[in-house]
Chain length 351, copies 3
């Protein structure tokens, strides 16, 4: 039934933690868009397969879109809110567990791996200990002991399902533009952009210190994708880790960055160097229509939830340039493409 899509999109995947787990971004995007066109085409792929969705932190879009994606594949998703329904997990090797942690990841993970065919986990950073967070200690220990493919639902430093969605949404928009051009001009242009699209990731103000995950991950994916002119702009002191941004142009001048931008990704993050702090929180960094005027009629993106009139103005979010609803809706197809690839890889006999 799903054999027909294998030649096109099959890439072996053993986990989905970062862009490094993806052999071909464009194939994965194409697969996601084929699911958007036909959600139930692979309904048999997940028969008698189960994914456990484990949340150590709250989630709306990630949880629901992954449940819907699994269900579209005929796969059962079971949600477990570890933070509310479970208990504190211990991650330290050799710990004498006489304190508040109730169960060691070494004991919990293999059992969950026995109950489920795939495990997905959300585990936010502490924003208190940079070394622990950036070593991805929690999700790495989980992977080490689970014994089944692990999907990140956002970890300490990355949010790959979001970033895949972001690339899907940009590609979809580019295709739509190209289609529109073809129809208007009767020409057969491969892209609406004469050259690569210019994508700008801009820092925005917020009311509390947030993880760097979405920004890190977006940078990592756009760089790996390689089909954009990529600029990151933020106030001084808000540098991101070079391991994710390398390849992008970085500037502290937002106006300069926005010039001729085709896509503007708006996101707050806390400081990386002096870890997890809020330094300057200048409201002039909020994205508005005035700033949009500097761009090439750019489309505006945000991962949501968004603080209206703090990060982004109502006029943009309610206007024609906003992609945020389309973007959040695409979370389903991103998750479905990833789960389908994992399921196909499982059938390949790797478990």
């Amino acid at each position: 039934m799903y054999a027909c899509i294998l030649p096109l999109a099959f890439s072996f995947m053993k986990q989905f933690i970062s862009v490094n787990d993806v052999t071909n971004i464009n194939s994965l995007v194409e697969k996601a868009l084929s699911y958007k066109a036909n959600p139930f085409i692979d309904k048999g792929l997940g028969a008698n397969k189960r994914i456990g969705l484990l949340f150590l932190n709250p989630s709306l879009r990630t949880r629901l879109s992954t449940q819907v994606a699994a269900s579209n594949l005929g796969m059962e998703a079971i949600v477990f809110n570890v933070d509310k329904e479970g208990w504190a997990l211990e991650f330290e090797e050799g710990a004498i567990m006489s304190g508040t942690t109730v169960e060691h990841i070494k004991d919990a993970a293999p059992i969950l791996g026995n109950y489920f065919d795939v495990l997905a986990i959300r585990t936010f950073p502490s924003l208190a200990n940079k070394e622990d967070d950036y070593s991805e200690m929690y999700i790495k220990q989980f992977i080490k002991y689970a014994g089944v493919p692990v999907v990140s639902l956002e970890s300490a430093t990355l949010h790959p399902l979001q970033s895949l969605t972001d690339v899907i949404t940009i590609q979809e928009d580019i295709k739509r533009g190209a289609e529109s051009l073809r129809q208007n001009a009767n020409s057969i242009q491969p892209s609406a952009f004469s050259s690569k699209p210019k994508i700008v990731l801009t820092w925005a103000p917020h009311v509390k210190p947030l993880p760097q995950c979405v920004a890190n991950s977006f940078a990592q994916w756009v760089n790996a994708w390689g089909e954009a002119d990529f600029v990151i702009t933020h106030p001084e002191d808000y540098e991101l880790s070079e391991q994710f941004t390398k390849g992008a142009t970085i500037t502290h001048n937002q106006d300069e960055a926005l010039k001729n931008a085709d896509y503007v990704y708006v996101k707050n993050w806390s400081t990386f160097n002096d870890y997890g702090k809020m330094y300057e929180n200048d409201p002039r960094w909020m994205m508005t229509n005035d700033k949009l005027a500097l761009t090439n009629h750019a489309k505006v993106m945000h991962c949501l939830p968004v603080r209206r009139n703090v990060e982004l103005s109502d006029e943009i979010l309610d206007g024609p340039n906003s992609l945020v609803t389309q973007q959040a809706s695409n979370r389903v197809w991103a998750a479905q493409a990833v789960l389908a690839t994992l399921l196909t890889s499982l059938r390949g006999g790797t478990k």
Copy 2:
């Protein structure tokens, strides 16, 4: 498969927020009772359809009965406890979101509408701001932005799934009485009641101020149904909003009201005029067997949860006149009839 019931019960429905969304109450009741007789007759109707059940407040019966109803129709139900698993939503237009609300309904609702075919939401009143509550600001904004049919799981002023259940239960009981009469008398009477049944909604004491929803909604439905002699009784100061009660006889004399009653619906509510308060809480308003003696062997109803020996005495709840278990069980069939009508309407091509 389900075509056979369409000629009987099909009525287009675009949402289910109040009795005003129902074109024919008796058809809907009949549909519910047909599901009670044969729960899985429309198991194919909900194939590849999903309902999101969003709770901003706690729920037992409403949640479980709606999940069961959806499942009987082969429809997937996904529960999201916004109050526990999510975050505070902003409902004010133009808000500068620098406070405690994390996401605007304008951003959350359309995405949920993209993830689900039908959305159901529970959102209680504040009991602090009468204008906001009675404008149904929350659920109306939700409807405005969701883009898919919305079902109320109890809103600020109404609880239509409960009221449909109540009418179902009364009709079922009337039919049972008629059936019993037929069998006993070999006569072919159309109803056990020589005239319309007398239905009394009576206020009862409680330990804290409760919404007016169940009482408002019951009044609205019984009035719209129109096949009863309908009396409402409560202490002075506990008047309900006229928009729901108009058509009913209202009295502050409970004994007078109960005379010859065939059905007594017991429910507490807080004050409407001086909004959300507890004035008098006279224990003599508790429904007891002594009061039942004033009625025409009335059946007693309550939406549950009930404070035993505060609102209603043990002797009634444990006695032969109580309909409360049957009533709560009928919640499944009410929800199933509503969901089936919405699904059939969706197939009619309105999405």
Copy 3:
């Protein structure tokens, strides 16, 4: 489809609260192991059947394994966290409910029994009132009013799904040993043990007072099973109730107990006589490799969650003698065998 296993394993079961509800332990174990070998063989058995999983206390393994077990049988499982999503239930007959309890079990249970074909409930002991706890007031009232088969997900004094799992795990290990012997010796020995295996239940230190459920229940099942030499060891003051331990040898000398043990079950519990207390909490009772040296290369068991290096040392849990992961994984097959037996009994026409 499932008829083939009926001749082997069918035993009528009207509920699953303790070992007393089981007519043949070995048949049930065999059924569980047949599901382990072929999880989906009875996928049609639960069609259009639903189990409600009600948690008045937290759960990880019990919840997930029961969900998976139900799903393997094609049965829908709906989880309701009464402690978090619901409200406080009243269990006292005749209570005037003017306090904090919102709904009486007499009203809640029959409705849940109408929504579901089977109900499962977790309700921990108070550890404050021995008489209430040991009368199993909560689960008994639930059974009394539910009107459908009830499964204990751990009650005030027992944890039968855990104990069934424990017996399954021991039998599986014995068979594996026998198999290994057969292969090594070309002999046809019926068991790896020349006589009955020696099973030791040993108390272990902990950081807070825990229920006696797991220990009580393990003792009850091993005694009922009758195919072991069963020893219980604990410090003075930690006697368990005789109603569960009768038949076992009891000693306060752990070293003596461990001699020649084939299976060591490690578990903490609080005091039974002076109810719910922690008396001595001697760290020397922790199970370590030094103690393991006293045994007959015993396999070590624990129900999890385990406090590492308080109850059991890392060296044991991470070593070759630990059965804990296998044991926890077997929870699925125990639950599946119980649910299948209940479903088959339901079909027998008892509902």
